[in-house]
């Protein structure tokens, strides 16, 4: 019986005396793809941050967010940052919505990528340089040498997000957390990045926590979905079941709205 990679138990998040997230309980098994869907203010992104131990100061988490590291468990709610630093990158990888905010604008792409590669794989010199180029090629960036020499503002939004994915995968994590990774991208670019994520997840046997407000995207990327509203989870179900027979009224409303919009376009290839 394998331990879940990530086990959230009654996770809550407070800001001063207000509760922003309450009683989130769900776990992700190795290789499993779980989605969190919710509208703005639902607390889905905060939940991801709590699982990574990245809640910034006035926010406080309670409950537990246990990460199985292979040598034991670490609780992101209580563990010190030093301990979590070893977990992040190596066990948990993360990709966020806006690469302009999550990548360093003053450092060339190759340099940024070399840090986690050096740290997690102990590489230096030529071996490191090759690993950087391989990582860029792996996320299907054309002309890896040119990209490695560029700054992030010199490459397109889709390319930046691929770099962010390469960074997240550098430590060969067992669980990839993706928070609205394609929301800021054009629709054709989005399709390519989602393809990339799907491929990487399946080839590496990683688990995936995919967070989005976009139901069609979530259905494509996940096997199980958790629906959040106003900081609480309202339903957890297999993706197919959620879309065809939602139980909770809020979920039903969400699915109906998505369906209404989806029906506006003619049947396409699936």
């Amino acid at each position: 019986m394998t331990a879940p990679l990530l086990d959230l138990d009654a996770l809550g998040i407070d800001l001063d005396d207000r509760s922003l997230v309450e009683a989130v309980t769900v776990s992700i098994a190795p290789g499993e793809r779980l989605g969190i869907i919710g509208e703005s203010g639902s607390g889905k992104s905060l939940t991801a941050l709590a699982a990574l131990g990245l809640l910034a100061h006035p926010l406080r988490a309670r409950g537990s967010a246990r990460i199985s590291t292979g040598e034991g468990t670490v609780d992101a709610v209580t563990a010190p940052q030093r301990r979590l630093d070893r977990v992040r990158g190596a066990v948990l990888g993360a990709v966020f919505q806006e690469p302009l905010a999550s990548l360093d604008p003053l450092m060339r792409v190759g340099k940024q990528l070399s840090w986690p590669l050096a740290r997690h794989r102990g590489l230096r010199g030529d071996a490191l340089r090759r690993a950087v180029l391989d990582a860029l090629a792996d996320v299907q960036l054309p002309e890896p040498e040119r990209i490695a020499r560029s700054y992030i503002h010199e490459i397109s939004g889709g390319q930046r997000q691929r770099v962010a994915i390469a960074l997240a995968l550098a430590g060969s994590p067992r669980l990839l957390i993706a928070d609205e990774p394609t929301t800021a991208l054009d629709v054709t670019v989005q399709a390519g990045v989602l393809d990339l994520l799907q491929r990487e997840v399946s080839e590496r046997g990683m688990a995936l926590l995919f967070i989005s407000h976009d139901l069609p995207v979530v259905t494509r990327m996940t096997d199980r979905v958790l629906v959040m509203k106003d900081g609480r989870q309202v339903e957890v179900a297999d993706t197919a079941t959620l879309v065809s027979a939602p139980v909770d009224p809020y979920t039903q409303q969400l699915v109906a709205a998505s369906r209404a919009l989806d029906d506006l376009l003619p049947e396409g290839p699936r």
Binding site: Q190, H213, L265
Partner: protein, 257 residues
């Protein structure tokens, strides 16, 4: 205005070319005309030039070459007064509900601004209350500040402001892209009602084909600053002629049946 059998298009963009001051070309020979009351969608991704085209249409930017006609007459350059009629008839709706309202002005003042600046006579408070009712917001919203409202509500406020001078055409730039799914539907329905009840036309710029499908009878596709396809929405979406249009369609994430 000449007395022709068919009325002149309310807005006509003719051979518009636009390049940034640095010289980088953005639009090449784009022509598009909207009949009164018609809703046309302009689809394209970032960098395609759709925002620039809107800015040219709104006379915020002069095109490098080409003409913008309003009710058949070219828009004169310069002075504010001569644009007053245009500003009354053609109003924009912006994408970001968190940026399109002045955080330091009350909702009522924001909505009434076109009335003040365009010198439209009449009781302002009553007009603002009527506009808020039109977009489905309570009258007491007028005294509050934008920060008290959600994204969808702010977008409605922005629409109320656009409706204040009684326009015949709305130029909408991704008006629902920043909104949650359920709210998106509500705002789409609002636009549909305005078109049906008041004959207000719309030039809708978006990368989102579903919104265009909901609101526009005709669609034009912009790629790299050029119009690559144009036609009735239903036709273009079911039988796209240009490969870029086909790729756009194929990229839209779909719900499983």
């Amino acid at each position: 205005m000449t007395g022709t059998a068919a009325p002149a298009p309310i807005l006509s963009l003719e051979n518009i070319a636009f390049a940034y001051r640095s010289g980088r070309p953005v639009l090449h020979d784009v022509s598009l005309a909207l009949a009164p009351g018609e809703s046309v969608g302009l689809v394209g991704e970032s960098g395609a030039g759709k925002t620039s085209l809107l800015r040219v249409a709104l006379r915020l930017q002069a095109p490098t070459s080409g003409t913008v006609r309003f009710d058949g007459t070219p828009l004169p350059p310069g002075r504010r007064a001569s644009l007053r009629d245009y500003r009354r008839a053609v109003q924009p709706v912006y994408q970001d509900p968190f940026s399109s309202l002045d955080p330091r002005m009350t909702v009522g003042d924001s909505i009434a601004e076109p009335l003040r600046s365009l010198g439209i006579p009449g009781g302002r408070r009553a007009r603002v209350a009527a506009l808020l009712a039109d977009v489905g917001l309570p009258a007491d919203a007028a005294g509050r500040y934008p920060e008290a409202f959600s994204g969808g509500q702010r977008q409605r406020i922005a629409i109320a402001r656009a409706l204040a001078p009684g326009p015949r055409l709305l130029l909408a730039d991704e008006p629902v892209s920043a909104l949650d799914t359920s709210v998106r539907l509500q705002v789409i329905e609002l636009f549909q009602r305005l078109a049906a009840e008041r004959g207000i036309g719309m030039l809708l710029v978006s990368h989102d084909l579903t919104v265009v499908a909901a609101l526009c009878a005709r669609v034009a596709v912009l790629e790299g600053g050029r119009l690559v396809e144009e036609g009735p929405t239903a036709d273009v979406l079911s039988r796209p002629a240009h490969p870029y249009t086909a790729r756009l369609l194929a990229s839209v994430p779909r719900l499983p049946r």
